[in-house]
């Protein structure tokens, strides 16, 4: 098990990002719980009419965010998409900045200009245009290569985004130039309302393999398993061997954005039985789990209150 995982960022709330000295299993659970409850809170705030626009929750995919970001260090860069809250919170722990941002406040990470999908913070960016961020992340990877450092650039995309041509232009160039780029493709089976069967011809992994880019494919919601694999992939990219793809088969438990969901109820119900908090939560004592959940709850309610009160 890796012990050199990225520490919580300065100034973040340890109740959300990890109490110093606590077991790794606890910290992972805490971080996933933090992301889950943050987004459930958002959806609730939406229902109250407290938020503007839209938001895409990653409920069910928290393990991906936690597993990948654990292996990133200062200088690395994440480029994320419309479903970016989990990636951002796992990376930064900045609950207040994101909450205030989505509330449209000046106190938000982008002063309310970006909202849910357009976030910028040290080592992190997101944009709501599917596919277009992939070359941007590759450009950051090229910058790292030219600078001669060993930083990596990580880009998160969804299965539906595999329909965008610029993804393939970029894979080709990234492979030709051996760029330190990790593409994390979260295959959650659905792109908005369209299932992969109606979206994607052929085999997903072969698309990357066609460019000679190694693909690591995993079907899991287990943060431990994902972290082990993500760690190897990040390390391989960092070693300078060129771009790689981590293809995670997972599932989105919530609707696509706000309240649009026509998926079969049965399908969703089955996935609730293997959702990441449940899978990993079994490893914790009931009392520890409960304590962590309470701590997260208290910390988050403080965040919401502070964000509401902020300018």
């Amino acid at each position: 098990m890796s012990t050199a995982l990225a520490p919580a960022q300065d100034g973040t709330d340890e109740r959300l990002t990890g109490i110093p000295g606590e077991p790794l299993a606890h910290r992972r659970y805490r971080r996933m719980r933090f992301i889950r409850r943050f987004e459930e809170t958002l959806l609730q705030l939406f229902e109250e009419g407290a938020l503007n626009g839209t938001t895409h929750a990653c409920i069910g995919q928290e393990a991906d965010a936690v597993a990948v970001t654990e292996h990133l260090v200062e200088g690395d860069h994440i480029f994320s998409n419309h479903r970016c809250h989990g990636h951002y919170l796992a990376h930064s722990g900045d609950a207040l900045g994101l909450m205030a941002e989505i509330m449209g406040k000046e106190a938000g990470v982008c002063r309310g200009l970006g909202g849910s999908q357009h976030i910028c913070a040290p080592g992190f960016k997101s944009n709501g245009v599917q596919g277009g961020i992939v070359p941007n992340a590759a450009g950051i990877a090229l910058a790292n290569q030219l600078s001669g450092n060993d930083a990596v650039s990580v880009v998160f995309i969804g299965d539906g985004t595999l329909g965008e041509g610029v993804v393939y232009e970029t894979l080709n160039m990234a492979a030709l130039w051996k760029l330190p780029l990790l593409v994390v493709c979260e295959d959650n089976r659905w792109a908005q309302s369209t299932p992969i069967a109606a979206n994607l011809a052929g085999d997903m992994a072969s698309r990357f393999a066609a460019f000679g880019v190694p693909v690591r494919e995993v079907d899991s919601t287990d943060v431990e398993e994902l972290s082990g694999i993500a760690g190897e992939e990040v390390a391989a990219v960092r070693s300078g061997a060129g771009p790689r793809v981590l293809l995670i088969h997972t599932y989105r438990l919530c609707h696509h954005s706000k309240s649009d969901d026509e998926r079969p109820e049965q399908e969703i119900a089955e996935r609730w039985l293997v959702e990441p908090l449940l899978v990993h939560g079994r490893r914790l004592d009931e009392s520890d789990r409960k304590r962590i959940e309470d701590e997260v709850e208290t910390a988050l309610s403080e965040v919401v209150a502070t964000a509401r009160a902020s300018a």
Partner: protein, 336 residues
């Protein structure tokens, strides 16, 4: 020295002076050196930072955006300006937006160089001047190469600022000698430069002092070169005196030099090679009509190419594209 060579030297200087400058584009490496030879020699001198790319305009722009976000100064070449369409999403939804939507926490100073324009018989997909589609993009500067603007000054401005810019280079300018104003003259024409703060200079050319002109012609790029020849000829042969205003930056525009000229002449002819309608000239007409309503002696005349495909055949191409004859006819009509 000819423009293509001066531009190449400018890029070489930029690469030498600033480690953050990176050139990306199709076929730009040696020995080929780019379709118009602008980058010849540069990949040999700077192999890491001058990179030839696959035919992938979206990724060229998108990778440039990432470089710029990471603090580099990418310069992306578009082999034919027609393929700017393939970069449009990167320009509009990525490059031009990042700084503002991230509340100034990032900058994305990508420089895109595009070889534009017709008159060479390259036909419908290799001859267009598509810059009008980029003119209204918020937070994007559009700058046009001209013979009256030294590319060294232009690129020093680009590289010294944090904003993205589209630089359009009309293909027919590449083999021409650069003629920036020297001692207040460009050849036999009187030259004045307006240097508003934060703007590239706007050059004004006339055969007689500006106060004695009766028509203002507003043009950029290759059309400015043609317009200069026209106003010189009309002055000598027919004593029609027009002042030609040549901005480098065509969006956002510094309208002050145009206003100053039109305030004297009361007549404005705009010239552009792009297709007619919803264009740079229409914007000029709108702005000048609003600002100088009482002083205009006649409606602004917008000269632009026919809104159709650009034929390959030489005579048919000439029927579609603006050239000297159309400019001359418009200036004569305005002076009547």
């Amino acid at each position: 020295m000819i423009f293509a060579k001066e531009l190449g030297d400018t890029l070489r200087g930029a690469l030498g002076d600033d480690e953050r400058v990176v050139l990306l584009g199709e076929d730009i490496a040696d020995p080929y050196g780019g379709a118009f030879k602008v980058t010849r020699g540069l990949s040999t001198a700077f192999p890491q930072r001058v990179r030839t790319t696959p035919i992938s305009e979206g990724a060229i722009a998108g990778i440039s955006a990432g470089l710029a976000l990471a603090g580099y100064r990418p310069i992306a070449e578009v082999m034919f300006g027609d393929f700017l369409t393939l970069m449009f999403d990167q320009v509009v939804n990525h490059i031009a937006k990042y700084q503002k939507m991230y509340a100034e926490q990032a900058t994305c100073p990508v420089i895109i160089r595009a070889a534009t324009g017709g008159h060479r018989g390259y036909g419908p997909t290799h001859s267009q001047s598509l810059e009008k589609h980029f003119l209204g993009v918020p937070h994007l500067r559009v700058v046009a190469a001209s013979l009256y603007h030294d590319p060294r000054v232009v690129f020093a401005d680009f590289l010294g600022r944090d904003e993205p810019v589209l630089y359009v280079e009309h293909k027919l300018l590449y083999p021409q000698h650069l003629t920036p104003p020297v001692g207040g003259r460009v050849g036999d024409l009187i030259a004045t430069s307006d240097n508003a703060p934060g703007m590239l200079p706007t050059v004004r050319l006339s055969a007689v002092p500006a106060e004695d002109c009766t028509v203002t012609v507003l043009a950029y790029g290759y059309q400015a070169m043609l317009a200069a020849q026209v106003i010189e000829r009309l002055a000598i042969e027919e004593e029609i005196f027009a002042e030609l205003v040549v901005p480098a930056q065509i969006a956002p525009m510094d309208w002050a030099p145009v206003e100053r000229s039109v305030a004297v002449t009361g007549r404005l002819v705009t010239v552009e090679e792009g297709a007619d309608g919803w264009s740079w000239g229409s914007e000029a007409a709108s702005v000048i009509s609003r600002r100088l309503f009482g002083k205009l002696r006649q409606p602004v005349d917008v000269v632009a190419s026919e809104p159709t495909i650009i034929p390959s055949s030489k005579p048919k191409e000439a029927d579609v594209l603006v050239g000297s004859a159309r400019i001359e006819a418009a200036v004569r009509a305005a002076a009547r």
